[in-house]
């Protein structure tokens, strides 16, 4: 009996898993689940081979080709980064963001929490300083060895070059004089041939010199891998030291609590001195105290001025794309539904769709930036911005006009797919279902909400899915152009930065953007499946 129960329970779990897989369109997991339950193992293994192993293999092939090709293409920003360099850049990005997070945390810690952390950090700092020193020495060492080996190589060549230069100079003169005397005895044709031969000899000698110079330059420019690794090590050590020292700084005196305590102490001192001061000084001191009170308020409300990190920028980008997507959907769905309901309305809207749909985000963004700027001349005091800053959850994003312009650009570029799909969905409601509404003599509202909208929801959601995809693509370009804090800005900063790993960081962004886009698409697929019904058009 209990055995039976257990079997039905596991069966239920299996059905639940399969349903979830079906809902999320993660079809490749289905054979895995079935294999776990021992259902036709050979069939499942074949399926896993096709739907799991083959894609992984294809991806590995891609990585292999990339790794093989990348070092052969030299650019101004260095070699095209290989997969391993990109993954290193990814760790660098992560480390940086973790450090910023810990600094932010440290800023708000209380005295009791700070002291043990500070001791720990100071010990680490000491250790890091010694390693940094060692790294400096290693770099000096490696560079010394490198210059020595290069010197050995170059010395010989430059010696050769020197001798060649002096012999060439002498020989040219003697040859030239000999030729001049010889020419008097020869016919004109013969003399031309002699001069041509002399010229050829000269150019051969200069070519030889040039190639020797090139060799020298190449040897000098050669980057020694040992030096390179030593330099990388040195940079990372220096970064760690810098981080730890600023972390210690925040834990000790730049902490919020310490700052407040320092101001309080100053105020107290001033108040005490006021008691003994004469009337003239009293005014000055009271004024000072008031200024200090103001500063105290500011410090109290302050938070750590965090440098922008990629995770933060990703969150901001996602918020921005959803803001734009929301605005776009709110505009597109009602208009699309009206288009589907009335062919007159459709006729009125069609020219707008045809005209504005192909317009690129690069055109919308500057226009919208100016328009938004016109509405919000001074973001610090504008009511909308103030309201957005004070709002819960989104307040931390510190939404600014550039953010709004980016979101509106996303809306302008992405709403067309939803609009067209909504119109199509409403216009293609099953005639039989409309007949049901006619027989029941349903009113307009009932017909809209009970029949037309439920029937067209799958198509509307299919359109929204396309819109979100388009919006995400558009957003990165918009942020790059608008300098709105986000992934696009990260790319732009890296492009302008020119550090040794900034090229690799851009590659990291490619994968981050792709991955976030994939997640957004999955979310929309789930929504679309939830509103789909048996036999609906858009059940993809």
């Amino acid at each position: 009996m209990s055995d039976e129960n257990r079997r039905t329970a596991t069966e239920r779990i299996k059905h639940f898993l399969l349903q979830v897989i079906d809902l999320t369109a993660l079809g490749f997991l289905e054979p895995v689940v079935r294999l776990i339950y021992g259902e036709e193992p050979r069939v499942q293994i074949r399926k896993i081979g096709r739907f799991v192993a083959v894609p992984i293999l294809a991806f590995l092939c891609f990585v292999g080709i990339w790794a093989a090709w990348a070092p052969h293409h030299k650019t101004k920003a260095g070699e095209v980064p290989t997969p391993s360099v990109v993954s290193e850049a990814y760790t660098t990005i992560l480390t940086f963001s973790e450090r910023e997070d810990s600094k932010e945390e440290a800023y708000l810690l209380s005295e009791a929490e700070r002291v043990p952390l500070l001791q720990q950090a100071e010990a680490q700092l000491l250790k890091a300083r010694t390693t940094a020193q060692a790294a400096d020495e290693a770099v000096a060492h490696a560079q010394e060895a490198d210059t020595a080996s290069k010197k050995q190589l170059t010395e010989r060549i430059s010696e050769q070059l020197k001798t060649h230069k002096s012999t060439y100079k002498q020989e040219r003169k003697t040859r030239e004089n000999a030729l001049k005397t010889e020419l008097g005895t020869l016919s004109s044709n013969e003399s031309i041939a002699r001069v041509a031969a002399f010229r050829e000899w000269k150019s051969k000698q200069t070519r030889l010199q040039k190639s020797m110079k090139e060799d020298l330059a190449r040897i000098r420019a050669q980057v020694n891998p040992k030096v390179q690794t030593a330099l990388a090590q040195q940079t990372s050590c220096a970064e760690e030291v810098q981080y730890l020292s600023s972390y210690c700084d925040i834990l000790s005196k730049s902490n919020k609590e310490s700052k407040l305590a320092a101001i309080d102490a100053e105020i107290l001192a001033l108040q005490n001195s006021m008691k003994q001061a004469d009337t003239k000084n009293r005014y000055k001191q009271a004024d000072k105290i008031l200024v200090l009170h103001e500063r105290r308020k500011k410090v109290e409300a302050s938070s750590y001025a965090k440098a922008s990190t990629l995770p933060m920028q990703i969150i901001r980008s996602i918020a921005c794309v959803f803001a734009g997507f929301l605005i776009g959907t709110v505009i597109a769905v009602p208009i699309g539904v009206c288009c589907g309901l009335s062919s007159t309305f459709m006729a009125a809207v069609t020219p707008f769709i045809a005209l504005f749909k192909p317009v690129s985000p690069i055109v919308w963004l500057p226009i919208l930036l100016i328009i938004v700027g016109g509405f919000i001349p001074d973001p610090e005091t504008h009511w909308l911005i103030q309201w957005l800053w004070d709002a819960p959850l989104i307040g931390e994003l510190k939404i600014n006009p550039a953010f709004l312009a980016s979101a509106l650009t996303v809306a302008m570029c992405s709403l067309w797919a939803t609009m067209v799909n909504a119109a199509l969905g409403v216009a293609s409601v099953d005639e039989d279902h409309l007949n049901v509404a006619k027989v029941l003599r349903l009113g307009f509202c009932a017909r809209l909400f009970k029949i037309i909208l439920p029937s067209s929801l799958p198509l509307i959601f299919a359109g929204m899915r396309i819109s979100l995809g388009v919006g995400w693509m558009v957003l990165i370009a918009a942020e790059l152009l608008a300098s709105s804090e986000g992934i696009g800005k990260f790319v732009w900063d890296q492009f302008n930065n020119g550090a040794s790993d900034s090229f690799a960081k851009m590659f990291v962004v490619v994968f981050v953007v792709g991955f976030v886009g994939l997640i957004l698409d999955r979310i929309m697929i789930i929504f679309q499946r939830l509103v789909s019904f048996e036999g609906s058009v858009a059940a993809i």
Partner: protein
């Protein structure tokens, strides 16, 4: 004879023809139905029987002629003429219960929540779906879906029930079950019913009178036959009745004749629709049946 409950007179349907005169699909169709009667409309496919039914339902515009139900001329569709379509036409995003409730809410706007609930449950019970009320159409078989369609139509308490080949897409066993379901419900509800079918067996078993239509275009009433089996029919009794086969044969004969006529001479414009309407008694007399 008292006033007919449903009176269809001179019903005409024309479709515009870009190449010339409009195509007349139904030509002056006349039919009088008494209250509570079950009328079958039978004919070859494409003869316009469904067009007549949809015109009565109001889903199809009437070119000329009139449909009077309970002394009032109809205009447009309405819940007083409930339709069961050939495909179940359930809304796939609603449960069976909500599909029925949609109509009930519309027809009983003043009823309380509880009363409506009871009504829906009652009719779902009548069609034998008390256990499947919370299922979605996609989870039900075709027969079950059509049962919901029937419950939805009857729950409207219509003056006229219009069945448009309601069993056309079902297998013959399910079809028989549903025929019994409808007859059972009608025996208590006494709703005047018009059913389009192309199955002579079904027509003879279910109907009080069968209206045979000539082949289209220009279809009209060819012959009307009364079926003498009375109320509360039991399938076994009807099948074993000797008259059953005679009636069936006469139906098939008529349909055959129509088909042949169409092949030999296409219907001409000079046809008088009233001429060919045979008296039911005459047809039955030929079969040796007294009504």
């Amino acid at each position: 004879m008292n006033e007919p409950y449903v009176d269809i007179t001179g019903l005409v349907k024309e479709y515009p023809n870009p190449k010339g005169d409009p195509i007349r699909v139904v030509d002056r169709f006349n039919l009088s139905v008494q209250r509570g009667e079950f009328i079958g409309l039978i004919g070859h496919s494409g003869c316009g029987k469904s067009t007549v039914l949809t015109m009565v339902a109001g889903l199809n515009d009437i070119t000329s002629g009139s449909v009077i139900v309970d002394g009032r001329e109809t205009s447009g569709p309405g819940p007083d003429r409930a339709v069961v379509f050939q495909s179940p036409c359930l809304l796939p995003w609603m449960t069976a219960y909500n599909n029925v409730m949609l109509g009930v809410k519309r027809v009983y706007p003043t009823a309380t929540q509880q009363e409506r609930h009871d009504l829906v449950c009652y009719y779902m019970n009548r069609v034998g779906l008390a256990d499947s009320m919370d299922k979605y159409p996609g989870e039900m078989s075709g027969g079950m879906q059509q049962r919901v369609g029937i419950a939805r139509a009857i729950a409207l308490k219509p003056k006229v029930l219009l069945l448009d080949e309601p069993f056309g897409r079902l297998d013959s066993l399910t079809r028989m079950e549903l025929q019994d379901v409808i007859l059972q419900i009608l025996s208590t509800e006494k709703i005047t019913t018009l059913m389009v079918t192309h199955d002579p067996d079904e027509a003879v078993f279910m109907c009080d009178r069968i209206c045979m239509m000539t082949n289209g275009p220009r279809a009209k009433v060819g012959q009307i036959v009364s079926i003498p089996f009375g109320q509360n029919r039991v399938r076994a009794d009807v099948l074993s009745d000797p008259r059953y086969y005679d009636l069936r044969v006469s139906l098939i004969d008529f349909l055959d004749k129509c088909e042949k006529e169409k092949e030999q001479a296409p219907v001409t414009d000079s046809h008088n629709p009233y001429e060919t309407t045979l008296q039911p008694q005459l047809a039955l007399g030929r079969l040796g049946v007294s009504s």
